[in-house]
Symmetry: C2
Subunit: 333 residues, 2 copies
């Protein structure tokens, strides 16, 4: 079992690599090698045969070189993120569309080869007007270049799966929460920030009203989706390989209530309400909730409430401790 | 008013060129030049300024050269047809997807330029399971590479229209009937053949049952759609520039009844029923009928019954005469 991960140096790519190394097997076979690729060189875990490569996927030669090991499973995470794809149209299409096409062409160029391809699509394929709860039959209508590029790749992968070039599963990932690391400029950043910063005793800005609703899964669930998508039988998917995924439907108010239950009122007091109508307008067009029957029937699972999502962050990123409580207790001593 | 037509040497391209020359104006301005492009050199009508070029659109340099005249309107007809796109996956994507992308890139490379782009999509973006009548909210799910490529282009053109790179209208053309010329190997060929051949006293094969239902418009209506799409205001289209179009919802039985009304029983007697389950299976997955409310509200129109579709063929291709009747009358003399 050889696995290729594109975008392996990113947050999800690193967690996926670690999870695969920890479990040691995939699709009933021992993992014998990994090819990790990204624009910056990823780190190959110790004890794993394979290669870590800095490549530009939109270069067809680079894509071909990645496929020379004929990986059994390809997890294609590499992408220009939403904000950059919107600002730099050419770069977004070059990487998010042409990079995927180059990978598919490189697969098609191999003889007698039909790998499982797990593709990270996004709920950004959907745009307003949307029903409050999005069923599996709601048509995707992207409102961003990122969403358009992800949808074009879904259509391509459906067609190439139908033709037997590859065997794809496209995952419309929920917004990942709590994203570890520092606050960033992404419009969605506050959804993580209002939990992540208070948990370590730092202040966070809330730019939208508390009734703003959105769809979340933890980084741990995202990794679980990717591994499950590599393992499932695709027979029941038929010709539509794109899946809406389970997640947690939560308002900002519900996030804050969960933070209070898990970390106490001192944590909540660190959130500053600073209205930002620009951010409000952007996130107002995003999906609020899904009813992902197809994915649930296939055994995909995620957290079921925001308390669990916070708990995953505490376990996976904070060593099981809540710093803000230690800080508060320290302050009271 | 300078107009670029890609695929100008094809049947629709030639008819569109002739219709534009005949009307002399578009979008309220006199037509002062045309650029006609195809893989084989098109014929520039006499008295029209411009150029007729043999180009391979999937070559980015070729696309750039086409845009040097900064046409006000681009009618993008060039495509590998359904059967060939299915058989030759690489060629289909090279022309139908990358050719369109190259055209868009060439547009984006021009400064202060936002042409109207009329793109010929297809009802092949839809695939079974489908409702008997397809409303404007039914999600496209292509079952062929051709349909997938057309859908990917629609998504691209929606995104680039939103960003102001161009101003697109994507037309999901009905099956064109009666297609002039000789019988061909296309699975849809019999829909035209069972009318076209009997009208000139030749035999035609019917490979499916008479209750097979499909969606048609004449070549004259197709040209009308393209010209109307060049002229409409796109404001009311919003972010979804793809339109289902009006047409005639007819069974094969209704086609034959119309043939009898227009050309008599001698014409109908020239149809040989020769079941072909392969053709039946292909066309069984195709759309049967549409309720194209958005296009109707925008003023698109087509024939309303099969008699009219036959009449258009007689007027535009047969000089207003029905040869089979002359033959029959000749025979009775």
């Amino acid at each position: 079992m050889h696995i290729l991960i594109t975008g392996a140096a990113g947050m999800i790519g690193q967690k996926l690599t670690a999870a695969l190394v920890a479990r040691g097997h995939l699709r009933g076979a021992s993992i014998t090698g990994m090819t990790l690729a990204d624009v910056v060189p990823p780190t190959l875990p110790s004890g794993i045969a394979g290669q870590a490569l800095a490549v530009d996927l939109s270069n067809p030669d680079a894509a071909r070189s990645l496929l020379e090991t004929r990986p059994d499973v390809i997890v294609h995470l590499a992408a220009i993120v939403s904000g950059e794809a919107e600002a730099d149209t050419a770069k977004g299409y070059a990487v998010n569309l042409q990079g995927t096409i180059a990978l598919c062409d490189a697969i098609a160029a191999q003889q007698d080869y039909r790998p499982r391809m797990v593709f990270t699509s996004s709920i950004a394929v959907f745009g307003a007007p949307l029903p409050p709860v999005i069923g599996d039959d709601v048509p995707p209508k992207p409102l961003t270049s990122y969403g358009a590029q992800k949808l074009m790749c879904e259509v391509l992968l459906n067609d190439l799966s139908r033709k037997g070039v590859l065997d794809a599963v496209s995952l419309r990932l929920p917004t990942i929460c709590i994203r570890p690391g520092k606050p960033n400029a992404a419009a969605s950043g506050f959804y993580s920030s209002i939990l992540r910063e208070p948990l370590i005793g730092e202040r966070a800005k809330l730019p939208v009203s508390e009734d703003t609703r959105h769809w979340f899964a933890s980084p741990r669930s995202a990794v679980g989706f990717l591994i499950h998508a590599a393992e499932i039988s695709t027979e029941s998917l038929g010709l539509d390989r794109a899946l809406n995924l389970p997640g947690v439907d939560a308002t900002v108010g519900a996030e804050i209530e969960a933070l209070e239950r898990v970390a106490g009122p001192d944590a909540v007091a660190l959130i500053d309400k600073v209205d930002d109508p620009t951010v409000g307008a952007i996130v107002g067009g995003w999906p609020q909730a899904f009813d992902p029957q197809r994915a649930l029937a296939l055994g995909f699972s995620a957290e079921t409430d925001m308390d669990q999502i916070i708990q995953v962050h505490i376990e996976d990123e904070l060593g099981g401790q809540i710093p803000v409580q230690d800080l508060a207790e320290g302050g009271r001593q």
